[in-house]
């Protein structure tokens, strides 16, 4: 069954006629997929806030307070991290939520619980040592998991701040080392953008990826996740960034973004995101330019692309509160398996799953003994 939140994202005007019961289901779905604050923002740009009944508005207000608090805390941590790493000559590049808060783009009504930074691989060790001296420690994970991160992943095991309990992911690439079709991260590193975090604090410069790279990172992240718990929110992030990018670059935006995607071998993913945004959301801007003559025909005609498109569409619009049906589970399974295959070639994945399975069995026995 199609979720109410999906219907509202496609046709926001529906909220004018929604019954209490429909609002109730909408809020439950929004809370479940971390969309309550974002939905409030999207309704606000369509001037639909006056149609929200007072009891429903309480839930939106409550969610907004939570997201505002998280964003204040993220801004505080960004400031701390910049100072901390600048001391040893490292300029961290903030990714995802932290980047949206820094750039004031796609941050509206967004929940952000942890922080992601990117540092060049040759500075990774120095960054880790400096962070440790500032109270960031590795979360407790098994020796095998730690080795897995170090050998195969594009990030080191998550760090957590001793006092404030903030979680920090330190990346050296935006795709796993073992991923197929990966690109040279230096292409992104040379084009970073700097921002002032706060007006009164002009000497603190915070780095993020440039706008097209932020969009492509978000796209790349969305389609490499095995579980789409926050998928709908991530897709609205991409939509909001596209809107801003088109406003800044005007008619050139689509061509610039497609060129960049081509350079990084991410065009297939970008087209998939554009297709999903056009299918699922109310068109804030016209995305038809992406489908003009430049679009290679073979992309959306392959069986693989169609299956993928179907899976994502199914997963993103299904009512996640009710027990989902067989087709949903099929889609979820395919995406889960695909995400693992993307991260690792089978010759690495199969031994990995074997070892994880063995650890699971061992731990079960340890508990029962």
């Amino acid at each position: 069954m199609q979720s109410i939140i999906a219907n509202v994202l496609k046709t926001p005007q529906l909220v004018k006629e929604m019954s209490n019961t429909q609002w109730e289901m909408c809020i439950r779905q929004a809370n479940h997929c971390h969309m309550t604050g974002r939905l409030h923002y999207l309704l606000s740009i369509h001037q639909l806030l006056p149609f929200i009944p007072p009891r429903v508005l309480n839930h939106f207000n409550s969610a907004l307070i939570k997201t505002q608090c998280q964003q204040r805390e993220i801004a505080f941590e960004i400031n701390e991290l910049v100072h901390c790493l600048n001391e040893v000559g490292i300029k961290p590049i903030f990714l995802k939520g932290a980047a949206y808060v820094t750039s004031k783009m796609a941050h509206q009504g967004r929940t952000c619980s942890d922080i992601d930074i990117l540092v060049p691989l040759n500075q990774l060790q120095a960054a880790e040592q400096q962070l440790a001296s500032a109270g960031w420690v590795g979360e407790h994970i098994s020796a095998y998991d730690a080795k897995y991160y170090r050998c195969w992943m594009h990030e080191i095991p998550p760090m957590i701040h001793l006092d404030r309990k903030t979680v920090l992911d330190v990346h050296h690439h935006i795709q796993p080392t073992t991923a197929r079709n990966t690109f040279d991260i230096n292409v992104m590193l040379v084009d970073v953008q700097t921002h002032q975090l706060r007006e009164q604090d002009s000497q603190v410069l915070v780095c993020t990826l440039c706008i097209p790279d932020r969009i492509l990172h978000s796209v790349c992240h969305l389609f490499s996740e095995g579980v789409l718990h926050k998928g709908l929110r991530d897709l609205t992030d991409i939509q909001l960034m596209l809107v801003d990018y088109h406003q800044i670059k005007g008619e050139d935006a689509a061509a610039l973004l497609l060129d960049r995607a081509n350079e990084l071998s991410l065009s297939k993913q970008l087209y998939l995101a554009i297709d999903l945004i056009s299918d699922l959301f109310y068109p804030i801007i016209n995305l038809d330019t992406y489908n003009n003559h430049r679009r290679p025909n073979q992309i959306n005609n392959t069986l693989g692309y169609r299956v993928l498109h179907w899976c994502y569409q199914k997963l993103l619009v299904t009512n996640s509160i009710k027990r989902p049906g067989f087709r949903y589970h099929c889609g979820a399974f395919l995406i889960y398996v695909r995400s693992h295959c993307l991260k690792m070639p089978l010759r690495l994945l199969l031994p990995h799953l074997g070892i994880k399975g063995w650890h699971l069995v061992k731990d079960t026995f340890r508990v029962t003994n």
Partner: protein, 275 residues
Amino acid sequence: MPLANNVYHLYSDAKLLSELDFVDFHLALVRPLGLRRLVKPQVNFMMDRSCPFKPLPVDQSCAFFEWGFNWAIAQHAMHYLIIHSAVLEKNGRAIILPGVPGAGKSTLCAALAHHGWRLLSDEQALVSIDSGEVTPLARPICLKNESIDIIKDFCPTAQFGTTVKGTSKGDLSHIKAPIDAITLINKTAIPSLIIFPQYAPEVEHSMLTSITQGVAMVELIAHCFNYKALGLDGFTTLSSLVSQCRCFGLRYNELTDALTLLDQLHGEVAQCNLS
């Protein structure tokens, strides 16, 4: 089903919503599948499909439901300043009783609720950011250990739910919110007294000690669930709450005594405000 019976017993005066009304939360207590159903069965608290706590033994369901309900309010009513405290009202003026666990807040709350005061809440004061008024919840009062028998003696009309033994907080039982609390559930109240109660068996007579507003403010911050989340709104709401109230510490060893003191104080505050 002891849980369903208990919920029905404790909430039987509450108004049932119709199918067409908006419902804030969908809560459920669900027994997980698996072999544990046979030995030491457990129960999960769920809000829609999220499961925020570790499971508890199934015979603690009645307590788990109330705790989970409190959690759901604290998580989704962030637009109020939420203070961990009891709130009661008489003649339009509310008294706020914040207290660390074991301070005797709920015992005092149950006694007041059955002696002329209207219960707004036993656990959470929902203070409006715009008006500073407290919104009632009128839910059951949670009593622990010795308090259960004390209130059975002191308030013979109080209606008790199932007693749950051996929880992390000891034995506990809930009493139904009095009928006037439920009929007036839409009537907010303006706070004029903040009392920090402390059960003190060693004192001879109950006694009140005046506290400065600054000290009260700092104490209250520690009792708020979402002071930090509200940012500046949290500070302004709490500081205007404290500045409109008189603040005291109350050490008591006997309920009759304590109630007389609080009634007197309430009368004085009313007099002051009149003149």
